[in-house]
Each structure stands twice: as structure tokens, then as C-alpha cells.
Symmetry: D2
Subunit: 343 residues, 4 copies
Amino acid sequence: MIKAGIVGGTGYTGVELLRLLAGHPEVELRVITSRSEAGLPVAEMFPNLRGHVDLAFTAPDAAVLQSCDVVFFATPNGTAMTMARELLDAGVKVIDLAADFRIKDLAVWEKWYGMPHACPELVAEAVYGLPEVNRAAIRNARLVANPGCYPTAVTLGFLPLVEQGLVSLDGLVADAKSGVSGAGRKAAVGMLLAEVEGSFKAYGTPGHRHLPEIRQNLALAAGQDVGLTFVPHLLPMTRGIHATLYARLKDTSVDLQTLFAERYAGEEFVDVLPPGSHPETRTVRGNNLCRIAVHRPQDSDTVVVLSVIDNLVKGAAGQAVQNMNVMFGCKETAGLDAIAVLP
Amino acid sequence: MIKAGIVGGTGYTGVELLRLLAGHPEVELRVITSRSEAGLPVAEMFPNLRGHVDLAFTAPDAAVLQSCDVVFFATPNGTAMTMARELLDAGVKVIDLAADFRIKDLAVWEKWYGMPHACPELVAEAVYGLPEVNRAAIRNARLVANPGCYPTAVTLGFLPLVEQGLVSLDGLVADAKSGVSGAGRKAAVGMLLAEVEGSFKAYGTPGHRHLPEIRQNLALAAGQDVGLTFVPHLLPMTRGIHATLYARLKDTSVDLQTLFAERYAGEEFVDVLPPGSHPETRTVRGNNLCRIAVHRPQDSDTVVVLSVIDNLVKGAAGQAVQNMNVMFGCKETAGLDAIAVLP
Amino acid sequence: MIKAGIVGGTGYTGVELLRLLAGHPEVELRVITSRSEAGLPVAEMFPNLRGHVDLAFTAPDAAVLQSCDVVFFATPNGTAMTMARELLDAGVKVIDLAADFRIKDLAVWEKWYGMPHACPELVAEAVYGLPEVNRAAIRNARLVANPGCYPTAVTLGFLPLVEQGLVSLDGLVADAKSGVSGAGRKAAVGMLLAEVEGSFKAYGTPGHRHLPEIRQNLALAAGQDVGLTFVPHLLPMTRGIHATLYARLKDTSVDLQTLFAERYAGEEFVDVLPPGSHPETRTVRGNNLCRIAVHRPQDSDTVVVLSVIDNLVKGAAGQAVQNMNVMFGCKETAGLDAIAVLP
Amino acid sequence: MIKAGIVGGTGYTGVELLRLLAGHPEVELRVITSRSEAGLPVAEMFPNLRGHVDLAFTAPDAAVLQSCDVVFFATPNGTAMTMARELLDAGVKVIDLAADFRIKDLAVWEKWYGMPHACPELVAEAVYGLPEVNRAAIRNARLVANPGCYPTAVTLGFLPLVEQGLVSLDGLVADAKSGVSGAGRKAAVGMLLAEVEGSFKAYGTPGHRHLPEIRQNLALAAGQDVGLTFVPHLLPMTRGIHATLYARLKDTSVDLQTLFAERYAGEEFVDVLPPGSHPETRTVRGNNLCRIAVHRPQDSDTVVVLSVIDNLVKGAAGQAVQNMNVMFGCKETAGLDAIAVLP
């Protein structure tokens, strides 16, 4: 059994990790930390876990964390970078669900996250945990930077086009929509049901922290910088991201359906839908799949990719478990095979 | 008082017309027809109207309709074109909320609407009822083709850019999102709350009937054909359209905020928001405003326009009343000045 | 024109007061205070008010408030009682939307609200602002205690039965359901969309502050104490209260429909629905009506009353405006005649 | 492996059965019938099943159904009673998720369901499939009448009180609220998102088909008829039932918490919450639990029981699988142990 610990488990990625790890056949949940909630049984905060998780939150304790095989950080940005070194030195593998190790260019990271990086040397070592791109490196990684939710949906959608150099790279558009759970479980007037229900808006149009992360992913795939406009929007619902991606084809004769099907053949968690499909976010709710459809409307030179994930699963906790599975040699789908509940 | 009739008032545009006309200071609601519901008091079908509207549905009667000053068609596509001629001949002004008279090119209309046009000669006469473009023509029109909901939001958002020739016309993108009331008040599994709540999807990517209408509007504004990709999406909410529009600027030195502010100066129903804004659909719920914000993210050459309307008001019944106000010389805001209910 | 001021306008009752007063034909909105938001234009916080309300929040200023004819308190409990005396002395009428003056028994008030009362002498003077019960007293009142949302819906539903002594008073049941806006516009994890959407629960079963208020109302109507079980529930929606009331009839021969129709004949804001009806909260959204239906299922001796209001209108700001209309001799429906937006 | 068939799988109980049976370790899904959808892969209608269920709908075929060990009827009322006899004769066990075999009194059944019963002799044989009451009989049953959703939530909530004779039986009140999926996956204007979102109402107050079923359950538990008022309500959400139950205690000295805890000790699917709790429907979403809390507000003689289930799981498909597990000697939790997804 893999002994797993979670640092900072009171948010939505925390409860999602708990749900997935509690049902994982090869994991023993050993510790979940929260300074503010130390002593509280997790099932009191998250009653869906009653009868499944007996742990209580505890204050972080280095010895306990170091007795784990893997530690997940479900903390705000800036925490994992202060604790990872010690854990790695103790032989513990680390998966950070926050952004501390995602951006290779430290200056870019420090600009977008507004703080100096506490641990630059680990940034270079960290593997960006998108298994569909980096599986081999993840297998041998000590430290995995789990991707952001928008970057996962957008990158997987653009990847086949960009890797093959099929589209103009100077005018990519990612129009992305997310449920409110992406904002986390923190008291904020703007996320009250009374503020969000029955309404829709864009936000962060001038610049969102996931923009440099997506750009980095696409630049690596393209072998050059890309011009990307990324507009996130807030959906009046809890879970799910839908990215609608637009790019101009250099050559309209390419068979897009085959391109996508072949790129993701064998990928357990990318489902390329039949031609003409429109994926619904509810079909991946609670589930680690990314479902993708590709269109070329009106036979124009604009390709439209529709890419959906559950922001808390493939966009966070599920992908973290997938990474753990890769790192520890488990079946990649272990603990991740539940069917989405519909309706 | 303007004597008004409504043909086909059992749908959502019908009840919205009733609500707006019942509160209009210069209108006397004279008749509302429905073959299937003849005899039913409208307030039984729409209990919000109890105490405000005493009419019952009646079967269509030519004499009664001809006694009106204006008749609104809130019918499915293909109905108004069979009845308009007779009403116009009787001196009644007609406002069609369906699509019968929106598209000038009959071949295009017949392809997208899948039927032969019953009244081609009136297509030429009909005025497209977007007052921000055609106010003078509407003033003198006998027959107004009330715009579609998506075309209203998208056209108003692109208009200042396209009229001035500031953007490349071959790769416009309109990523639009609508509440479910746009699908009308008809029994359909896909619009059940259990199918839509908590989920999001695109639809109609290969082609949607509003595409040729938007193209016609933009081509008229540009003086040439435009290349437009239009992807509609279904929001898990009742009312509201949010169009997110993308275009490539030919010249990034243009002052976009001033451009939009000046284009819509004096327009009562277009509200250009301050720089950096993100309009929310709830701020126009039940209200005839189109609220617009314009962005140029990361100082790139891509302009992003955010345009919101209530699909049943500025996108249907409210714009119809606005057109009536213009046609009959009323104050353009008459009956349309209620403040959106928030939260 | 009635010069009106609002103290504490940053919550949901504040914005609702602004919406209603901005559209009131006989009111001039003079001031709205907020210490924390002083200087902020109200239309920036509540963009539905753009173009309708030009005021900015200001810090409370005694002179300005004293220049008003009426001041509304849309403040947390415990504020109005510290400021009312001074305003009354200056000849300003006061309507408190919080609970400071609702409970006549000071000991009860202090127990449920957890603080000493700052102004006991005004409690005696204050008139409980339920016009359907206290219209005459309100007409002459200087100080009105605007009822709570649940108490309004529950009291109006039970009133005809209790006033006439038709039901057993020892086992009344009020099962009430409210939208989340009843919890106010304050950051609280429990009111996040991600916590409330798609779920339902009771709360406050052991005891809720509206229980003593409802008991007081019913005891006054009955002329004796009543035994009431009150269970509030949280609906996954923004606005609306639905109270389902249960009582045992002493005599099943009473004509309940007539009883209710006669009790509320002439009341502009109580709509007794036809027999067999089920009122929907959406039919009163944004609107000051209380809609009521009365049932006696299966001809048993249990009467079921269904009573719906909009918690922010008839349950708060709308009733406050209704009270103002009564106090200042306006038409009781002035500013309150908009039709609910449906769907 | 248990060979399982489903008759009528195009509704919400059908897809839920598919989801649960596809993940059941001891079940082989052999056939799912639908006359109207014959030939359609089930994963096209329910895309959450893509990759998990390869079956297509087929027209009902007696030979194929008779090759199953168990056949579930997820059909409208009135279908199972015409097909059950033949299957039972062929040695197939039958679980009917509709109402055909729930009511023992045929006259009552025929009155509420509006048709003559096609198979009265099986009504007597059928076992009412509430394992918490009838486990032993279910174990040996050939034919199980799976309970209704409301009856499950209400019966489990009242049971400890009624079995022990602790409450007055003449004035029980069940105020129940259900998500819209209880109305099934059929096109109906009243269940459109635009009709239901953001609103709440009661329905069926004069009489609902689940009333006689609940009465039968409680009468059996009490050993005498009971007087019950049952008012169902429609929640603006997809899944979940919350029953709020009211009864008058004969003796207020009883320890209610212990009563409930002891009654359901050992029950895998009834979770009695700690004192003071308020169960949320989301904590059982997709899950077979009934969560119950018991209160005695203000130390009065009225007991309030809060009982929540997922109407499609413990209220339908999950309970059917639980019954199958009991009938076939599987672990009762087999296939039913997934944790509810929250948020």
C-alpha cells in the first residue's frame, strides 16, 4: 500500500483528493493536515466522507509527513515551495496541486504570482504532471507540478494541432468557462449563490495566471512562442470546465478527426468523441476524463476544438492521483474508474 | 393609445411581450391569439400576469387583428409570412419576432429555414429592426423584422469595429452563450432542468440559423462579406446571452474605449462599460439594455468584446417594443425602463 | 416628493430598496450610507442601477439624515436602536428593516438576539409594519418595525385561521423554505454556490430568531399563546420564500376558500389563489405580493396553507416601501406595481 | 456472475441502474430493452457510460430476458404486471421499480393508478423491497416491488417512532421536497429548466400516488391505520429528496437519538446523524444512503425528523440493486459503495 499524506485538505481539491484516495485500492490515507482545523474529523467538514474516512485534521508534523510515500499539497500557492525540499530529502515523493512548480521561467512565475520563489532549484527538477505529454518523466519524478485546471483543458485541446504545426500560432483563442468550484472553498461575496446563480460573465480578460502556464505548454509543443488570447468565464454551476478553442489551419485538407484520434489513442483519460459531437461537462463530473470534439464549421479554415474536464478531477485531484499512479507503477486508472453520475 | 395585438402568445417571447405591453403607458393590449389555448385566461398560463392582464387567448380572427394598430408575431418561423400581407393591406403595422423577414437573400433563407418563402415581395420591404443601425428606416416601416437574440448581441458588439474597418474580416470569432429560454417554451428532453442544470456544452457548431443573419448584418456594416465562426453554447440558466467576440486589429493604436463610447453615445439601450469591465448577464435581466465592454488583453492585436443582453428582452420582446416605440413616435424607452432585479 | 435616506445600503435589502425607491414616483433618494464603502458609486457595486441611481455611498452624517422625511435602516440587528431616537427627535420617520423593534417582550428579544436593547422605550412605541394587520397604526407611526421575511409569509398564511379561532393552537407547523438571499450579502462558505447548488437542507430546527416573532404575531391574532413548530430550510436559489403551513381544524365544515378570500379582500398585496392552486415563488419574484392557496387534503381535518413571497420584497424592502406609502399617504401600490419577470 | 436484464432503460432510473450495475463486481449486464430506441448504443443516449457500457438498446425478446437471472423493470406503471408472470415462470427473479406490485389493496391501487390490475395474484406474492423492514422476505422473494422514492424517505424517517407506538397516529405530517429527476426523463413543459430554475412550489397537495404507499407502510408498522398529510414539493435541482416529518409525541421523555440509532444499528444504508444535525441532500447524491436526523425543537412535544435520500438511488435504482444483493446473497453493499461527489 502507498502511504499518502495531504497537506492542506480543507479546500475543494482536498476533499476531492480524500474521496479519490479513500476509494483507491492501493492507497492508505495516513494524514491530512490543517492548522486551522486541527482536531476536526474530516467527515464533519465533508459529510459525504462519513463512514469512508476516519481521519481528523492534524497540525502539520514533519515526522508524520516524512513517514509517507507521497505527499500531496492542496495548499494555496506559495506553501509547497517552502516544504518540498525537506520531504524530498526524506525520500518522500511530492505532488503539488498548486502553482509553485509549474512555470519554468522564474521571472514569469514571480510576476504572475507576486512573490519571490522560495526554492528555485526545485523548479528545474519538477516535472509538469500532464501524463499525456510527460508520462515517462513523471514515472521517474520525485516532484510533480500538477497542472492547473484551465491549462489541462486548453492544452489537451490544442496539442495535436500545435505539435504537428498545423495552425497559425500567432492568433490562438481559448474561450474557457469554469464552474465556481475553481475559485476554491473560501468565503467570497462574488462566489455566493445569490451572486452567481442565473448569471454569466467573463473575468480576468486582461490577464489570468493560467495564461503563462498555457503559453509554456503550447510553446514546448510547438517549439516556439505562441500568441494566445485566453478569456476565462464563470459558469453558474459548481464543477466543470469547457474550453472552446479556435485556431486557423494552415492547410484545410488535414483529417482533424484522425489527427485527434491517433494522438490520444491509448490514452485512458482522453476521449475523442465522434465527428459532430458536443461534449457536455456533466459527462465527466467527478471523473478524470477529458472529452474532446473537433469541428471545422462551414468548411472554413478555422478549427474549433471543444474540450471538457471536471476542474476538480482531471483539472486537479484526479490528475494528481493519475500522476501518483504513474509514479508508483499502479494501473493508471486505479481509483479513477467511477462512472460520472448523470443526470 | 396604441391598440396592440399578439399572434401566438403562449411562448416565452409571448409572455414577455405581455409583461412589457401591460406596463406600457401608451399601449392598449387588445388581443392575444392561440389556437390551442383559445379560451384560457393568459394569467392562468403565466401567473405573474394575474391582476395585470385580463385577456384570454382567442383563436385568430382577422377582423379583430385588423382593428389593431400593430400586431406582433410571436409565432414559430413560417407563420408571419402567411399572414402579414393581409394585415399590412388593412393598414396594420407588423412586427415579426420570428425569422421570416430577416434575411434578404431568399435562397439563403430557404436553405437555413428549410421551407419555401410564402411572401418574397415583403422580404424586400421589411426593415431589419435593430434601431441602433436602422432607426430612420424603422420610423417609417410598415413591417419590421425583429432581430434574433444572438444576432443582436453579436452585431452590436462587432459593429463599431466593422463599420470603421478596423479589424481583419476573414477570421472573426463569436463565442456566444445563451440561457435555455432561447430554446422556447416547448417540451423537449434536452431542455429539462435535469438535463441542463450543472452542465455546459456547445451546440450547433457546424451551423446555426443565426449565422447567416449575423453575417448579413456585418457584411452590410463592412460593405463586404465577412468570415465569421459562430459557436453557440447552452448555459445552465434561464435568461441571458453573453457574446465573447474576437477580432484581429489592423492597427493597435486605435482607442477602442472611445470608439465604442462614441458609436453608442445617445443610444438609450447600449451601455458601454468603463475600461476593464466584465458585464454580467444578470444586470440586464428583464431589461432592454445591451451592455458592452471592450478589451485588448496583454496589448496584443486581438480585441475582445464582451456583449450581454437578455435574450427575451433586447433579444426579442423588448427590442420589438423598442421598434414599436420608434414606429409610433413614442419615447424610445416607454415601457422599457424597469431596473433589472438583482440579485 | 418624499426625501428618503438609507442607512447601510450595501446588502441585498439595500440594493432592493434602491431599486424600488429609484422607481417610485413620489420619492427622492437623498442619501445612502456605508462606512466601509464611502465614496463608491452605488452603481459600481450594483451594476443593475447604472443609469438609474447616481448616488455614491457616504459615511453616515446626522445632518444629512435629519434632512430626510424618512430613513430606512438596512443594517444588521442592533444598529437602528442606537440611531433611531435622534432621527425621531428631528422629526424624521424611521423604518427599520432589521429586528430591533419587532419583539415587544424585551427579555425575549435579548435572549434571541444576544445583546441588551439600547432603546427599550422605543420598542413600545414602534408599530409592527404588517399593513394587513396594522394599517391604521402604521398610518400614524413615527417608527415602524418592518417584519422579518419568514414571519411575513407564515403570519399571512395562518392569520385567517387563527383570528377566527378555527384551528387547534397547540400544534401548528410551519415548514418554510427560503432562497439564499435571506442570509444576506456577506461572505460565508455555507452560502457559496458550490455549497448550495443542487442541494437542500433544513437549518435552525432547534430554534430560529423568527420563531418568537411569528409566535408574537399569532398570539396577538389568537388572543392567547400558540404552540408552533417552525423549521426553516435553504433552497438552492436566490429569492423566494415558500411557507407550507399545517393546522388541525376544530370544525371541518368551514369554507376555507371563502374565509381566506374575505380576509384579504381589498388587500393589494395578498392574492388568494383559486381552489386547488399551488403558488410558485417565481410568480412573485421582484414583486410585493404574497400569494396564498389553501387546501384540505383528502378531506381530513388538517388544513394546508401554501404562502409565497419574495423574501427581499414583501419580506423586506417592498414591505418597507408599502409601509412608507401608508405612512405618507401615498397610493399603497406606488412604486410597487412592476410585474414579476417570468420565466 | 449474476446475469441481469433491464426492461425500459431510457429513463433516469434506467441510466442509474446501468451505472450501478456496470460497476457491480458480480453482475453481467446482458440486455437492456427499449422498443423506441432499439439499435441505439446506450452510451449515445447517456454519454457518461461511454467506455463502460457497450450494450445497445434492443426490442424486448422473451428468450433473451428469460436467459437472465434477474430482470429489472424501469418502465412506466402498468408494464411489469403484464410481463412478470412469464419471467417468473421461467425462473427469472423480477424487481419492479414501478408501482405495479407495491400496494396490497387492489382497489386502492386501481383507484390511484387509474387502470385495472393485470396480475392480481402476483400482488399478493410480491415482497415490498424495503430491506430495512423486509430483509428476510426479500432474501427468498421471486418478485420484489421496489419502493417509491418519497415512501422510502418518509417511511424510514417515521419508522422508529411508529413501530414503537410513540407518536399520535392521527396527525402525521410529511412535508417532502424532491429534485426534478423524480418526474422522469420525459418531455414536459413543467420540468424545463426555464420553468423550474430559481423557483419552488408544492404540487399534488390534494393527493399524490405515494400517499397510499406511505400509509400502507406506516399502517403495517403501527398495526393500525394512520392519519397522514403528505405534501410533495418540487426543488429547483436534479437529484435528492428531503422529507421533513412532524409527529406529536405521546411521551416526551423518550430518548429519540437512541431510538433511531438502535433501530438502524447494523443497517449499511441508514445513517443516523449526531444530535443537532441537518442532513444535506448532496451528501447522498449518487449514493444509496438514507441520512436521518431527529429533533425535538424547543423541548415541545413535536418531534421533527429530517430524512434525505437520492431519489434515483435509495429511492429507485440503488435500492433495487440492494434488493438484488439481498436476493442473490451478495454483500449488501456490493456495487453501492461509491462516495458521494461533493461539492
